[in-house]
């Protein structure tokens, strides 16, 4: 597995990421999401603002697949994600919230 810190330029960047999930009937769902936030070498954070179908699917089976794009090289990487927890406070939450606030103010 590629350590996520080697993909640092693919997170919180200008090129939208892509997320796919699967619903209870086995039907995939795919959409863009603005940012995937780097947490550490083996973890990322996604902000749950609008993508309700995605959130429902992840809550159901704990699986999501994300594609991130390096803003400099254009390289694409696919991440097989497994849900661990959701947060509404704490260091990671605050960091993501600040990042989103900055983006919204632009």
């Amino acid at each position: 597995m590629i350590p996520l810190d080697r993909l640092r330029d693919s997170f919180e960047g200008v090129i939208p990421s892509v997320i796919a999930t699967t619903d209870a009937d086995g039907m995939p769902n795919i959409s863009y999401l603005s940012h995937v936030h780097y947490v550490d070498e083996t973890h990322v954070a996604l902000s749950n603002q609008f993508f309700s179908k995605t959130a429902i699917n992840v809550a159901r089976n704990g699986l999501a697949t994300v594609m991130v794009v390096d803003g400099y090289s254009g390289q694409q990487h696919v991440l097989d994600l497994v849900f661990i927890r959701s947060e509404t406070e704490g260091e990671t939450f605050e960091r993501v919230a600040i990042h989103l606030t900055i983006l919204e103010s632009r």
């Binding site: 796919a20 594609m67 254009g74």
Partner: protein, 158 residues
């Protein structure tokens, strides 16, 4: 199921994504290399590169569900069409030509926006194109905003 406006939209130079899934429900992501709608059957002839997206294409088996998303870069207008794969195999000459033309046009459009050739080198591929025939089952609004995720009826999609 696909109205004329939607049909014209997905066949225009929009960016295309698709997702399949394996037996365990793990979703697979790929980028599409063009699509055409069969006017008689209403099925999609969806092109993707097996060499670029081996996992996503590998799970595009006959009978399996598949989701495809179409996004216009200029205004983010987007929709998602979900359905089932009814046929899958190497693209014939006509489909391959469409796929090659689609990829060339997309890359030219992105270069015109200032994206470099190096950045584009891994974005889209016209190599080892497969043609997935998809029977559409549901259409969803995907444009960012309050309507995102709304299921479009055949009437609304017309």
């Amino acid at each position: 199921m696909l109205g004329p406006e939607l049909l014209e939209f997905i066949e225009s130079p929009v960016m295309i994504l698709f997702a399949t899934r394996d037996e365990a429900g793990r979703p697979m992501i790929g980028r599409g290399s063009g699509v055409r709608v069969d006017r008689q059957s209403g099925n999609l002839h969806f092109l993707a590169s097996r060499s670029q997206w081996p996992r996503a294409v590998g799970e595009a088996l006959v009978g399996r569900p598949i989701a495809t998303t179409y996004v216009r870069a200029t205004d983010y207008k987007a929709c998602q069409i979900k359905g089932r794969v009814v046929e899958a195999g190497p693209a014939d000459e006509a489909h391959r030509a469409r796929g090659v033309a689609y990829v060339a046009e997309q890359l030219a459009r992105m270069m015109a926006l200032g994206v470099t050739r190096m950045q584009l080198s891994s974005t889209l591929s016209d190599q080892e194109l497969v043609c997935l025939t998809i029977a559409p089952q549901a259409i969803f609004e995907q444009t960012p905003g309050p309507g995102a995720g709304r299921r479009l009826t055949p009437e609304a999609a017309a």
